[in-house]
Symmetry: C4
Subunit: 234 residues, 4 copies
C-alpha cells in the first residue's frame, strides 16, 4: 500500500477522535501530512469511524490539491485542510470537529478566555475567534475560504500556530492542529475540556479573570519549548 | 413472519435509540411505514428496548388505523404516528422521545434557534414549537390531537417536513422524522446534540445570533438536495 | 436463608441503583418491606454495591424497630426508612440517594416544578420540599426526625404518597418510594431525569410555566390509576 | 522490589483516579508516604494511567527531597507533594487533579460553599481558596511555592487538614489529601461531585445558604471522629 504509514496514522487518529467522545455521527475529521512526499491524507466523507481502515484514507497532492490515491470521496472539508497545510509549514496534523463545548463558544461568538493553568498547559493565550465569512466567501469555495480566514487571522495577529494550536470559526466550530495527527488529537481533547471548564467558570463568575502573564508563561513553557520539564526526556 | 423487513427495521431502530442515549426507562418509540403495503409498524408499549424482538413489533393499517398484526398493545403514542403518516406522504419513519436537551427546550417553551452549522447540516432553520393543545384536545383523542397540532403548524407555515424534520410540542418533547426509521434516528441524534449545544451557547451569550441565510443554505444544501457533496455517491 | 425473597429484591435494587448512575461512592440505599412478616430489609452501611449479596442485607422488625436478622450494621439512614414504613402503609420500597440533579434542587431549597409531561408521567404535581429540621431535631434522633418532617409535610398537605412518590429534604436530598423496591427504583430514576430537565429548562426560561391541570392529569392517569392505558395489561 | 507495598498502593490509586473519571490525558497524580521509611512515592511525569506499573513509581526522601528509587522522572508537581508531607504530619496520601468541576470553582476564584449534607459528610466547611502566587513565587520554585501558599493558608486559618482535606489554588485546581492514597482518592471523588452539585445549586439559587452549624457538625461527625456511626465497625 502506498503512503502506508501516513494512512495508518490518519486512520488511527480518526478512530481515536470518536473514542475520545469528540464526534457525534460523522461530524469530524483528522488529516496528516507527509512534507517529504508532498502529500496530505484525510478521512473519506461520511464514513463511520469504527469501520474506517487505512486503505480507505484519501491522499492528495499538496502542490496540485488533486487526489492521487484512494477509492472514496475525501472529506468535504478537504480544501480547508489543504490550504492550512500549504500556508502553515510547521503543522503536521489537522482536526476539525463539532465537539460540544468548543462549538458552543463558536456559536456564542466568543473566544475562549484563558482562565486556568489547564488551558495554559496547552494554549499560550485565549483560543481566538476568526471573523465571519462574507456571503461571497460562502457562496463559492466555501471550505477553501474557511482556511483563508484562519490564515488571515494568524497573519494579522502575527500569531505563532505552535503557541495556540486552535481557532474557532464563528457559528461553526474548532479547527485544531499539531505537529502530527496524534499531537493534533491531544490538542483537540485538551481544547474540548478547557472549553467545558471555561463555560462552567463563567457561569460561576461572569467576571472571571484571565491568567496573569507570569502564570500563563510558566505553565505553557513547563510543557513546551526548550526548557520544558514535564513528561519524560526523549 | 409477515412484514418481516419492516419489523426488523423498526425493532433495530428502537434498540439503537436506547443505545444512542436518547431514552430513559421506556420513554421513546420509533415507527416505520410501508406505503406499498399501506401499514405502519411501531414499538409495543412499556417494553424494554434490550428485550425487543422483531416479532414484538405491532403493525397497523394506515387506512383503518386498526392493528392487523402483533401480540402486544401498541405504544400509547400510536395515534400520533398514524396521523403524521397519513398527512405527510414523504415521511418513512417517526420517532418520539423525551431526550434530555430537546425536551428542556420544549419545557422552556422556546423553539431551538439555528445557532451553528451543525444545526444547519440537519435542519434548515429553527426547530419550531407548535401551539399548546387546548383542554378539550387533551381530554379526548389526546395522542391524535398531538399530531393534529403538528400538522396544523406545518400547514400554517407552509413548512416542508423534509427541510426541518422535527418539531417540539410545548411542555412535552420532540417528534422527529425522516424518510426511513434509520434516517429518523439520525435526525433524533442530531436534534439532541444541537439542542445541547444551543443551551450552552445561549448561556454564554443570551443574544447569540442565528445563522445568516447564506451559511444556513450552504450547510443544509451541502448535505441535502440535488447538489449535495457530503458523503459518498450512492 | 430467612426472608430470602425480600433480601434478594432489596439486594438487586441496591445494585441496580448504582448501575443506574444514581450513587457516587456509597451515597444511597434501598429498602423493602414485607407487611405480612412485619419486617423491613435494608442495605448495610458503607458496603460497596458491586460486592453486595442477599445475605448481607439487614432485616428489622417494623414493630420493635430492632434488627432481627443480618451480620452487618444497617444503613445509618435506617430510622428514616422505618418510620416511613410505619406511617405510610401503601409504601413497599424506599430509596434515599444524593443523586446529582435531585440533590441540587434540595440544595437550592426549591421544589421541582412540574414543567413537562415526563414529570407528569411519574409525579402528579411538583416534587415538594419539606421544612428544615430544627437544631434539636438534628441533635438527637436525627434520622428518625428526618422521616418525621416528611410525614408532617404529607399530613399537612393531605398528600397521597402514591400520587407524588418523592420529597426533597432541604440541603440534603431526595427520599423516593413505590409499592416495591423496583417501583421505587423506577421513581428514583425518573426523579433524577426530571430534576435534570427542569434545571436546564429554568436556565433557558426562568419563568417556565408548570403544566396546566388537564395535561398533568392526562399524563399521570395515562400511566396510573384505573383507566391507565400505558404498558401491557397485567 | 524496594518499597513494594507503597509503590503498589500509589500505582493503584493513580489507575483508580483515571477510572473514576477525574483526569483527562495525564492531568493528575497521586502520591503516598511511608513515614517510618521517611519516603514518599509518586506517579512519573506524563505516563498514561492504564500503562502504569508499580515499578514505574518514583520514590523520594522526605528529608533530602532527592529521588532514591525509580527509573522515570517524577511528576512535575513533586515539590508540591513533598512540602505538604513535610509540613502536614497527619497526611498519608495526596492528589492533584484538574478535575472538571473542582477546577471550574478554582477558575471562578470562588471557594466551594457547603450547600448540602453530601458536602458535610466529607468536608467540615467550605472547600477554601488559597491566595494567588506572586510573580516571584511563580518565576522560581513554582511547585514548591504552590505548597507554601497552601500551608500558609492552613496556618493562618488554624485549619485542621483532617477536617477539610482539600483546597483550591486559584486559576489552577484542587489539591486533596487523606490518611492514605485510597482515602485521598475517596476525598477527590467526593470533592468533584460536591463541586458539581454546588455549581448546579447556585445556578438554581444564587443565594443558596450554607448548612447551619448543627447540620454541618451532625453529618461530618456521623462519618468521622470518635462517635462516628456510619459504615461497619473496624
Amino acid at each position: 500500500m502506498k503512503f502506508q504509514q501516513l494512512k495508518q496514522e490518519v486512520c488511527q487518529a480518526n478512530r481515536s477522535l470518536a473514542e475520545a467522545g469528540l464526534v457525534v455521527l460523522t461530524w469530524g475529521n483528522v488529516s496528516g501530512v507527509d512534507r517529504q512526499a508532498g502529500v496530505m491524507a484525510i478521512k473519506p466523507s461520511g464514513i463511520s469511524y469504527d469501520q474506517l481502515q487505512p486503505k480507505d484514507i484519501v491522499v492528495l497532492s499538496l502542490e496540485t490539491s488533486k487526489v492521487i490515491d484512494g477509492n472514496f470521496r475525501a472529506s468535504s472539508d478537504t480544501p480547508t485542510h489543504l490550504l492550512l497545510y500549504q500556508k502553515l509549514p510547521s503543522v503536521g496534523g489537522i482536526i476539525h470537529t463539532h465537539s460540544t463545548y468548543a462549538t458552543c463558544w463558536a456559536q456564542a461568538q466568543r473566544q475562549i478566555p484563558c482562565l486556568g493553568t489547564t488551558h495554559a498547559d496547552h494554549f499560550h493565550g485565549p483560543v481566538p475567534l476568526t471573523r465571519q465569512l462574507k456571503p461571497e466567501e460562502i457562496a463559492s469555495d466555501y471550505e477553501h475560504n474557511t482556511a483563508k480566514v484562519i490564515i488571515e487571522y494568524l497573519s494579522a495577529e502575527e500569531a505563532n500556530p505552535e503557541q495556540v494550536p486552535a481557532v474557532l470559526v464563528p457559528q461553526h466550530g474548532p479547527f485544531v492542529w499539531g505537529n502530527s495527527p496524534v499531537a493534533a488529537l491531544e490538542n483537540a481533547i485538551a481544547l474540548e475540556e478547557i472549553a467545558r471548564m471555561a463555560l462552567y467558570a463563567v457561569l460561576l463568575n461572569p467576571q472571571a479573570q484571565q491568567l496573569p502573564q507570569a502564570l500563563l508563561d510558566k505553565h505553557f513553557n513547563r510543557k513546551h519549548g526548550s526548557n520544558a520539564y514535564y513528561g519524560q526526556e526523549d
